[in-house]
Amino acid sequence: MRRFFSLILIIGFGFYLVTVIGRIPFAATGEAKGSVGVQIVNDTVNDTGAANAVTSVVVLYRGFDTLGEVTVLFLAALGMSLLLKGTEEVKARVFDESFILKTGSYLLFPFIVLFGLYIIVHGHLTPGGGFPGGVVIATAFFIIVMTSEMVRLRENLVSILESLAGLTFIALGIAGLLGTKNSFLANFMGKGVFNTILSAGIIPFIYAAIGIKVGSELTGAVGSMFLSPFGKQEEAGE
């Protein structure tokens, strides 16, 4: 009976959602005139000097949200390392892949990392940036961890990188607070020459910090799932 009522309730709520949201046209760009988004797209080059408007929104206009999102990722990785530590099921997974797979992954590793770095560094010029770049770098480690049991990644190193990157983000923010604009995360550096690597003030620096943070967090998360990079596979048995 209780289930029946729950079902009725869910269907009712779903129907309500669909009827109201369904009336919103899919391409609703013209809906909100004077939208903040439209203003940002018009002003972004003058305001920030970044060629990529999405990046200027992520790092500057809504940089405070990004700091929060990075923290959310940090929390998730922390929770995984706390809760997965030492459970039996996790320890049992040891991978011993073929020679070809191992060699191939070692061969690919530097290129994947380089690609990730490229994406991070060019975040304010081309699509991409700290989040995707960090994920690409973490993928490089992920492949190594998946295929080879020989690799030792120090858990300390990962968390040091993660902390330093987070503190850099905050320090750049506080520098804006101390600067002339007196506002957290304000762009206190010059805008530079438009569409070059060292343009758009603090944006590339913050994005680099985000890239390192995302990369180390995801690497740490993968590590806590497989445990083998942290030197635990002796206990895991054959």
Partner: protein
């Protein structure tokens, strides 16, 4: 003047710094976290007189609202930051002795992020930023609930995680609708434009946000996670979750309903939901044997009372609700912190096993009873005045509707008194002879040796004593408190507008 954004930045930066500190000083995090919380308390105290005169508007990244994100540190923001940081500081002192395992650095990191998330929620003036801080708050509490890594904790955390994620999702849909239709995320800007939105969208946004944040605020049909989560978490964390996490979610959602969405038409329904929440919580608490579950259900009851008071739609009601929040934070923290050591010393969660523990732990037991009396609303404790103000505010509305709701509240209070006094009786006078009721049949069957039960350590007694001072002597400062709660009520009932920010 200090920038209110430091209230968010200090705990966040400290949380990021803890892994670095851990390399050179393994247990340094407990003192560093203490320092960060203390800094927040001091900043809050320094800012309070300013914001009571005029709210401080903080622009982030140098972009004027509504283009950028901004904070609005009004009386509500600063008073709740103070509640959060003071409770956090005291619970951190308690944690020095209570949390003693190998992953304490992670505990303190999560603890500080919990403080960051809740402080951010009360200070921000941007609805998406609110969502981000809400996520930080939720995720850190999911993990902390499972901190002991036992079966109950993990199960409760998963349940909490699933319900919480659905809640967050509904909240996010509401934000998407707002941005799509109004093109802005700034709360003041939304408030200016909201009345022009179509009726069905307005209602949908309010319903989605109420049900999204309502999961965290433990409003009636959405609170099934709470008893498990609050009772399986380490007691220090239960004190935070019951002490300010649900209240922060509740006050923020009501602030949105009043000052951003002007949705006065839902208030009567919310008042009814509040009373149902209260009755469900109190009657369920009456039937529990596990002391932490009693306290968790009692929190649901209190949330119902606070929701009712917030829904009265008068300044007096909201002001009384804030006073009740202060009382509940102090009292419920005491109850959870003390019961943490009851459990640790006896090894049992059943309060019937604590017979005569007052002889062994006199200070803790006394404070437990005082806090319970304040929650029931016995004069001259703070809880009496807050409940009295709620009843008077409801009566001042004069309608039969509110009078009948208040009579149900008084019924809930009787039940509340019954179960708290039953625990007090066990603590002081030991086993009850009447076994007909069935709840005490096993008595001290666990074979706990009361002789071996000693006092709680000083680090646990000091924070409880300090909270006890608030509960017992709070009435001496009632006029000051009423001044502060009154200005919070003024802030909540006044419609936000972009023009008033600058």
């Amino acid at each position: 003047m200090v920038n209110p954004i430091l209230l968010i930045i200090i705990p966040l930066a400290t949380a990021f710094f803890i892994p670095l500190l851990a390399i050179v000083w393994k247990n340094g995090s407990r003192y560093l976290a203490l320092l960060a919380a203390l800094a927040n308390v001091l900043i809050g105290i320094k800012l309070l007189p300013y914001v009571l005169e005029k709210p401080i508007h903080v622009t982030i990244a140098g972009f004027k609202a509504p283009i950028g994100i901004d904070l609005l540190a009004g009386p509500l923001g600063i008073v709740f930051s103070l509640i959060i940081s003071i409770t956090g500081f005291l619970v951190l002192i308690y944690s020095i002795g209570y949390i003693r395992d190998e992953s304490i650095n992670k505990y303190y990191t999560l603890f500080l992020l919990l403080l960051t998330g809740s402080t951010g929620m009360v200070l921000t003036n941007d609805i998406f930023n609110l969502f981000v801080f809400f996520e930080i708050l939720c995720i850190s509490s999911y993990i902390l609930v499972a901190y002991n890594r036992d079966e109950h904790g993990l199960e409760a955390a998963i349940k909490y995680l699933v319900l919480g994620s659905v809640g967050s999702l509904l909240f996010l849909i509401a934000i998407a609708i707002i941005y799509l239709k109004l093109g802005t995320l700034n709360m003041a800007d939304i408030s200016d434009k909201f009345d022009a939105l179509g009726g069905s969208y307005r209602m949908m946004v309010v319903v989605l946000i109420l049900s999204g944040l309502g999961v965290e605020a433990a409003i009636f049909p959405l609170n099934s996670w709470l008893p498990d989560a609050h009772s399986s978490a380490p007691s220090s964390i239960s004190a935070l979750l019951s002490g300010f996490v649900i209240e922060v979610a509740l006050i923020v959602v009501m602030k949105l309903v009043y000052s951003v969405f002007h949705a006065m038409q839902v208030l009567n329904a919310l008042a009814v939901v509040g009373v149902i929440t209260l009755l469900v919580g109190e009657f369920a608490a009456f039937r529990q044997e596990n002391i932490k579950r009693v306290l968790a259900y009692s929190s649901i009851g209190q949330v119902g009372l606070i929701l009712l008071a917030l829904s009265i739609n008068s300044k007096a009601g909201i002001s009384a609700a804030v006073l009740q929040i202060i009382n509940h934070t102090a009292s419920k923290s005491i109850l959870f912190l003390v019961s943490g050591y009851f459990i640790l010393k006896t090894g049992s969660y059943r309060y019937s096993d604590y017979s005569g523990i007052a002889k062994r732990m006199p200070v803790s037991s006394l404070l437990f009873v005082l806090a319970a009396l304040s929650l029931i609303g016995v004069p001259p404790f703070l809880g009496f005045f807050s409940k009295l103000q709620i009843v008077m505010a409801a009566a001042a509305r004069g309608s039969t509707f509110y009078v009948s709701l208040v009579s149900l509240v008084l019924l809930g209070t009787i039940v509340e008194g019954a179960y708290f006094l039953r625990i007090a009786q066990v603590l002081y006078f030991g086993r009850q002879q009447d076994t007909d009721s069935g709840w005490l049949e096993t008595g001290n069957a666990a074979g706990i040796d009361m002789e071996s039960v000693g006092n709680a350590p000083v680090s646990a007694v000091i924070p409880v004593l300090l909270l006890g001072i608030v509960v017992v002597f709070g009435f001496l400062f009632l006029t000051n408190l009423n001044g502060v709660t009154g200005s919070i009520a003024g802030e909540i009932t006044r419609a936000l507008s972009l023009a008033s920010l600058f």
